[in-house]
Each structure stands twice: as C-alpha cells, then as structure tokens.
Subunit: 214 residues, 2 copies
C-alpha cells in the first residue's frame, strides 16, 4: 500500500488501517525496539501527533495493534473448506502460511521469537492465540470431537515444529523452496502421528483414515 | 537448599550462589514479574540491601543471572559420553532433561515461553544458546562433521518440539509418565529423520547407521 496523500480525508477506520499497515511494514523489516513513532509517521506520510491521536498508548499500543492485525491475517491462512482429502487441505493451508512468512520475513521472526523490549504477556497471548487456533483448525478438519492428550500433544508439537522450521527457513535464505518445505512438513505431520499411533488407539484410527483418504 | 543462618559468614561466591538458588526457587514457582527483590531477600534470609550489593542492577540483573545459572544446569543434561549405541545416549540425556523440567516446573515454562516483563534480547539469547548447544551435542554424537541444511533443520525442529512437549507435559499435570514421554520423543526423533532421509542422502546414511546400531 502506498501512503495516501496528506490532503485526502480518510475515515477513522481507513486512517487506522493505514497506520497499521505502515507499522507492520516497518516491524516486518526491523526489530520493534528499532522502530520509532516518527518512523511510522514518516512511512504513513502523516504527522507524529496524528499517530498519537490514534494510538495514545504510543509505541506499545501500536505494536500490539499491529501484532493483532498480523495475527488476524495469519489466522486467515487456516481458512480451508472441510471438503476433499485431508492432506491436500493441510498442504493448501501451509502454502498460504509460508506465503505469509515469506512476505513478512523479519517482522514474523521478531514476533515469534520474542526477545523484544516491547514484548509483554499480552503480546505473548496474541501469539499463543494463533497457535491454539491452528491446533483447533487441524482438529476440526480431522473430525476428532474429543481429542485425547497424546493426539493433542502431537498436533501442538507439530505446530511448534512448523514455526521453528519457518524461522530456520528465513535464516537460511528461504531454502529449500517453499513447495519442498511444505511437502516435507506434511510428511513430518503424518510421521509424528504414526509414532503416536503406536501407543494411542484414537490416533491409530486417525492415521488409518488419513492414509485411506489419499 | 535451606537458607544459611544469617550469622554464618559466607564467601562472596557462596553468597552469590545462595541468592541465585533462592531466586531460582522463586522463579520456578512464579512468573518473574511477580517476584520482587524483597521476596528473594526473604527466601534467602538476608536483607534487601545485601541482595542489591550482589546485584546492583536489581531484579533484571538477578533474573538474568538466575537464567544463566539455570541454563548452565540445563546444559549439563546434555553431557553424555560418546560411547555405546546412539539412541540410548539420547534417552539418557532426555531423562536428565525431563528431570530438570520436572524440578523447575513453572520457572521453566516462564523461561521458555517468554512474555515476561523482564524478557529482553539478552535473556532470549541465553535460551537460544541452550538450544544451539543441544543441537551441537546431538550432531557431535551423530558424528556428522558437515551437517547439511536439511539435517540441521530436522534436528532443530525436533529440539523445539521437545521444548513444546515439555511445556504441554507440565500443563497436563506431567502426563504421560516421564519414561513414556521420553520413549515417544526418541521415536519422534527417528521418525523425523526418516522423513528427511527421503530427500537427503546424508540423513539417509545416518538413519541406516542409527537403526543398525540398535
């Protein structure tokens, strides 16, 4: 998005969204502690007081709002119709997720790795909310109404592993190519479930259904 | 460790270690933002000014020192002789790691999950250092002198997955029992490598050696 010329009157919602987009762009390329409200004002082509009018809590409030807006966008990656074979659904969601990671790069790392001076239990809660949503989405696609602890642990472990893999992927200059990474992640998903299936009847039935589904 | 009676003269090192132990005990049961220097002084049975004399940077410095001391302890879990079959070595290291997690409980979660008001890029670097050390240990045991990106990614993913599993394990009232969790984690390790081996010759040779070794 290019900054709207200063003379055009934006609605409150448009203005807010313009400031968030400018902030996200900056947070995507710099750690939050290096981003100032002046930078955000400059990137959005507005005055610093205007940024403060929309985010009177200053940088902390802007950072949280930007994080929440990125989290919302990230959650859209999981929107996938409950139709067709399961593993291709997972592949499509991963494609969208990796495109998001690719686009947001550094900001995505900063967000997930924490270690920022503006990190608080609220920002951590936003990130954890995305993780929980991802797990819930997967369980709803797997159509397991009462997932047991071993199955839930396997899914949450895989989600964390996907996060780790995407951070490493960014570190490694986005190698291997996204489609190879995606296939590898899907295979890791099946392999992790297969290990759990050795001890857990619910997961065993699920793996059987997944494989039959292909 | 019980607090030493106030009348005994401790050496500088003993006193420092006494304060760190008291701090770790508190951080193990409360999020860092809820722990005050008064609490640490009380737990150690010393005056608040004494805590400040040792940690003039206040709570932030004490937290970092406690974290570093926990990280050192955690790294000792990885000390394992380069002898005998590989997977039992991994099992023994995991036993020590899970005993550490069991003992430090809440403090371990707070440490790994971040989201604390005293979290900074320095504390994140301490935690990342432990992760890197774990990966280096594993690679040295596997005797792979020049690990390629796919193998490294697999190992780092597994380490993150182990962290996630231990946090979930604490959340779930330490279920399943530690020895079952350990076996499951070892099997997840082998399964993750097997998936990577489908695309990576180096990992394929390694999996063959791992399995022959049993």
């Amino acid at each position: 998005m290019t900054a709207a010329p200063a003379y055009r009157r934006l609605s409150v919602e448009e203005r807010r969204s313009q400031l968030l987009t400018a902030a996200l762009g900056l947070f995507a390329h710099h750690p939050p502690e290096e981003v100032s409200l002046d930078d955000v004002a400059e990137a959005a082509g507005v005055s610093r007081p205007l940024v403060y009018r929309y985010f009177p809590g200053g940088k902390q409030q802007l950072y949280e709002a930007a994080l929440r807006s990125a989290a919302d966008e990230l959650q859209h990656c999981f929107d996938e119709p409950h139709e067709g074979p399961l593993l291709p659904r997972l592949s499509r969601a991963l494609d969208r997720y990796l495109a998001f990671v690719d686009e947001h790069g550094t900001g995505f790392s900063a967000l997930l790795q924490g270690g920022s001076v503006v990190e608080t239990s609220r920002t951590t809660a936003i990130v954890d909310g995305v993780r929980r949503a991802a797990a819930d989405h997967i369980l709803s696609h797997l159509e397991v109404p009462h997932p047991g602890p071993r199955l839930r642990m396997t899914i949450r472990m895989w989600i964390t592993a996907v996060e780790a893999a995407s951070l490493i992927w960014l570190d490694e200059g986005k190698q291997p190519p996204a489609d190879e990474l995606r296939d590898w992640l899907v295979e890791q998903f099946v392999a992790a479930l297969e290990v759990t299936a050795r001890r857990d009847g619910q997961t065993k039935a699920l793996v059987r259904a997944l494989v039959a589904d292909l």
